[in-house]
Structure formats: structure tokens, C-alpha cells
Amino acid sequence: MGAGKFWLLATIVGAAFFGVSLLAPNQYYFQAGYVVLQYVVLATAWNILGGYTGYVNFGVAAFFALGAYSSVALYPLIALPIPVLVVIGGLVSGVVGFGMGYLTLRLRGAFFAIATLAMAVVMQTFITNWDYVGGSRGAYILRPLKVPLLGDYIVYLFLIMLVLAVISIGIARSIERSRLGFGFAAIRDDEQAAEAAGVPTLRLKLVATTISGALMGMAGAPLPYYVTYLDPSSGFSLSYAVNSIAMPLIGGMTNWIGPLVGAIFLGTIQQLATVTISSALNLLIVGLLLVGFVVIAPNGIVGLVEQLIHRRRQRRRA
């Protein structure tokens, strides 16, 4: 399926999904849905650098929270519509992604991962000490209750995140099938061999980091309006990193479907668990599933499905 057709199909599916969602009985559906869609974006974004290129980013919080804090920083200055904030969040995080990549991508895999964690903590420390955005006390955002046409504000936020999810999936898929995607895969499989084959590894890694960071920043931009109160420890929470890694790993890291499946699967479980059991237990579930899948099914749910299909085909042939 060509790129054009895919975007059209994705838009139609997205619109249909939204249409059906409007029939939801209460607001809670949109609140939970927002979080799951946010994770679709984060997981897909992470996977571009992690699954496609092979570089593990623990510093997800840095890009995500930076997007959120750009919105917080602009809030007292000028009232901007959320889509504009999303673009700004994306730009800020994209630039930071580029900068971070430039400093750390010469490091081999494990050091890179630790360096990304280091960046997230350093950034968190700076934000915690920056009183303008509330510092450790946090910042409050007021949001309108209703929005024309859609009704509740939360429906509006839900729609924005849905659009972002479709965009991120579209971008991931386009990359997969392009020359860029081949380059990423070569780097992941064997960076030295890729370099010897003519792949400009550093440049491509920077592209991956920038795109990945920008998408995460876009996912973070609406956050202050969703939670209405944001402080550094929740904005930079390590659970964003754990989820962004767990979801592609559980779903499957080699293509765009994996993060989507992983985000919906894990995201929904967590939403249910938070409501029914406790939020600490839900993090335990994430950790256990992460380790479980890493050990047993490293190619994720998508990988398991592919194996199943492959075996059925072999049986049919025999």
C-alpha cells in the first residue's frame, strides 16, 4: 500500500474511531483514552530510535516534559491554541533531541542509554530550580470547561491526541519503507558494517533522535491542560520511560504496528488496574510484563503472531 493510501486509510479509521467514541457514556472514557493515545505517540516515537535504529533512550521524560513545560512557560505570556503549542513543543524537543544526539551518539549503546538518563535528570533538576515555571511547587493551568462543537474540553484534548497518534504512526510507517528506514536497520544490525557500506551513521542517528524527540515533545505539549497541575516529579516521572520502552518491546519493535499494539494493550491494562487495584500495583505489572516479554517473547506480540502465521503456512504446505 502506497504512502498516500495509507494516510487516507489512517485518517478514515481515526475519524471513524472518534465518531464512535462520541457515543461514550461518560467523560472517563476520554480521560483514559487520552492517556492511551498519548502512549501510542510515545511508544511509536521511542521505537524510531529504539526499535528501528537500536539506540535505547531512557531519557524519554526529558523530551516529553520539555514539551509540557514549554506550554507551561508560554501560558502566562500569551494564550495559544493547543495545536500551536503542540508544534512549539515539537520544535523545542526536536532541537533538544538534536543537541542531545550530537553530544551522546558517539558513545556505544550502553553508554548512550545511561547518558540519556543523565540528561533527563539534569533537565529535571534545572526545571525544579526554575521558579518561573513553578519550580518544585508546580504550576497551575486553567482551562475552559467547554469547547464549541465538541462539548467537554476533554473531548477536544482527546481529539488532538488522536490526531497526533495518527501522525506519528504515519511518520513511522513512511520511515520504515524508505531509504532512511533501511539505513536505520543497517545501523541497528551492525553499525560498523553499515558505516563501511556507505551509511552516514552519525547523521542518520541524529535524524532518528530529532524525530523521536520532536514527537515526544508534541505528546507532552497538551499535558498541562490535561492535568491542570504540573510539577517536575510527575512531569519527569520515570514511568514514562518504562512505558515507552515496555510498550514497543511487548508489542514488537520492528514495525509501526508493534508500538500501537503494545500501547493499547499495556495502556488499557494500566488504566483498568489504576482504577480497580492501585497505581503502584499497575507499575509492578508493567515491570513484570516487560521482563517477561524480554525473556520469553523478544519479538513481542507482533512477533508471536508472525510465528503463528508462519507455522500455519508450513503446516498447510506439509
Binding site: R179, F182, G183, A185, A186, R188, D189, D190, Q192, A193, A194, E195, A196, A197, G198, V199, P200, T201, L202, T254
Partner: protein, 244 residues
């Protein structure tokens, strides 16, 4: 005729250990050069310095008229220098066809625009695999290959970059007699297509039959450089190999 590869006084150290010292070498277009030396003499280090995987501390490397010192490996490949790795490094998640597609997309593509015609790309991948006898396995992944097939894939990938110079780093290690002949035939075919070949090997009969010229490296220094028959009679060379 100006040299294709001009190495002047190359030096490389790892901490306190001198891997290469004062190595100078001049290779003309179309030559078949053999590079031999005992284990640890610095052959692979030399290859890595030439290709850009490692950075030499002293001396210079000129390729096809360009000074390549400090250039990253991918740019040297684009200039026309290709290498195969001693231990094959295939792209394991891709099919064989896609393995050779990478150099086409990233090296050849910078010289002529291939991706505009996707069919052309596919057929060129198959051609390359045909050349090494792996066309039948084009859709399979590297994990299904035998040792010698992996070596051939390595060479196919190096060739895909349409190099002027191919450095084959111990491409025949561990292969049987006939498998060695296979690889030699391949390299000869390439040389007939005017690709300059540097063959780094331990298998003496292969080196002797293939090379027009033999270079000997011992303990990081070049101790001999000339016709194979003369070099093998050189007392320093004999001592290096036997008197240890």
C-alpha cells in the same frame, strides 16, 4: 600512472602499544596485492586505518587523489574504497537482497540516482547475488547461510558499493580447498573488471597464486614489498615466519 592508494609513514598506537609504525605503501590501479604477516603484525589495524574505522595518529593516506585522513568510513566507501570484514558482519534482520541493497542505496545512490527506479534497484541486487552464486537465497536471511556463503555475502556487499579498491580481510579463513578456489575466482573476476584488490591472507597458496605483488608486515612495520617469489626468499621474511 598516479597511485590509487598512497600510504605515507602511517602510525597507530593503542595506549603504550605501537600497532603500526612508519608504514608506507603505494598501490596502482588494477594491481593485485597480497598482504601477509604473522598474527598480531598489524594487518587488520592497517585495514581499519585505511578504511576509516580507526584513526591513524601519524602519517597520511591518499586515495584516488583525495587526502582521506580523518574522513569517516562511509565517506571513504563513497570515494571508492570497500572492504570485507574478517568476521562476516551481515545485517541479520534483512534478506540477502536487502543486505546488498544498503550499499546501493547509500554509496552508489550518491553517484547515480537509483531509488527513482525501484525495479532497477531490485535487479541490481539480484545481479550482485548472482555474481557470488547466492541468487537462489535472495529472499532468505543470513542466519540460514553456511560459512563460505557468509563470506561470499560479505564480498557481494563490498562489491555492491562499486569500489575502485577492494580490501579482502582474511576472506578465506577456515574454508576448504575448493571453497578457497571459489573465492579466488571471484576476486580474479573482480580484478578483471579493473577493481584493484588487496588480499590479506594466511593461506599461502592463495596469496602466491593471486598476487602480483606481496607486502609483508611484521610487528607493525613493513619489512618487504615486491614480487612474490623474491619476497618469500627474503631472509627477514623467512625469519619472521619460521624463526619464531
Amino acid at each position: 600512472m598516479t597511485a590509487l592508494l598512497e600510504v605515507t609513514d602511517l602510525g597507530k598506537r593503542f595506549g603504550g602499544f605501537t600497532a603500526l609504525e612508519g608504514v608506507s605503501l603505494s598501490i596502482n590501479p588494477g594491481e593485485r596485492v597480497g598482504l601477509i604477516g604473522p598474527n598480531g603484525s598489524g594487518k587488520s589495524t592497517l585495514v581499519n586505518c585505511l578504511c576509516g574505522t580507526l584513526r591513524n595518529e601519524s602519517g597520511s593516506v591518499r586515495f584516488n587523489g583525495h587526502a582521506v585522513d580523518g574522513l569517516p568510513a562511509h565517506q571513504r566507501t563513497r570515494l571508492g574504497m570497500a572492504r570485507s570484514f574478517q568476521l562476516p558482519k551481515p545485517f541479520v534482520s534483512m534478506t540477502l537482497a536487502d543486505n546488498v541493497r544498503i550499499p546501493l542505496l547509500y554509496t552508489v545512490n550518491t553517484r547515480e540516482h537509483l531509488h527513482a527506479a525501484p525495479g532497477k534497484l531490485d535487479s541490481r541486487c539480484l545481479e550482485l547475488l548472482e555474481l557470488v552464486g547466492l541468487a537462489a537465497k535472495a529472499r532468505q536471511k543470513p542466519r540460514d547461510l553456511t560459512q563460505v556463503e557468509m563470506r561470499k555475502l560479505e564480498l557481494a556487499r563490498a562489491m555492491a558499493a562499486e569500489p575502485k579498491l577492494l580490501i579482502a580481510d582474511e576472506a578465506m579463513a577456515g574454508l576448504s580447498h575448493s571453497e578457497v578456489d571459489d573465492i579466488l575466482a571471484l576476486l580474479s573476476t573482480l580484478n578483471e573488471r579493473s577493481i584493484t584488490v588487496i588480499l590479506i591472507e594466511h593461506i599461502m597458496r592463495a596469496v602466491m597464486s593471486f598476487s602480483q605483488r606481496l607486502v609483508v608486515l611484521v610487528a607493525g612495520r613493513k619489512i618487504a614489498d615486491g614480487l612474490p617469489q623474491e619476497v618469500t626468499r627474503n631472509p627477514d621474511v623467512v625469519k619472521a615466519y619460521i624463526g619464531e
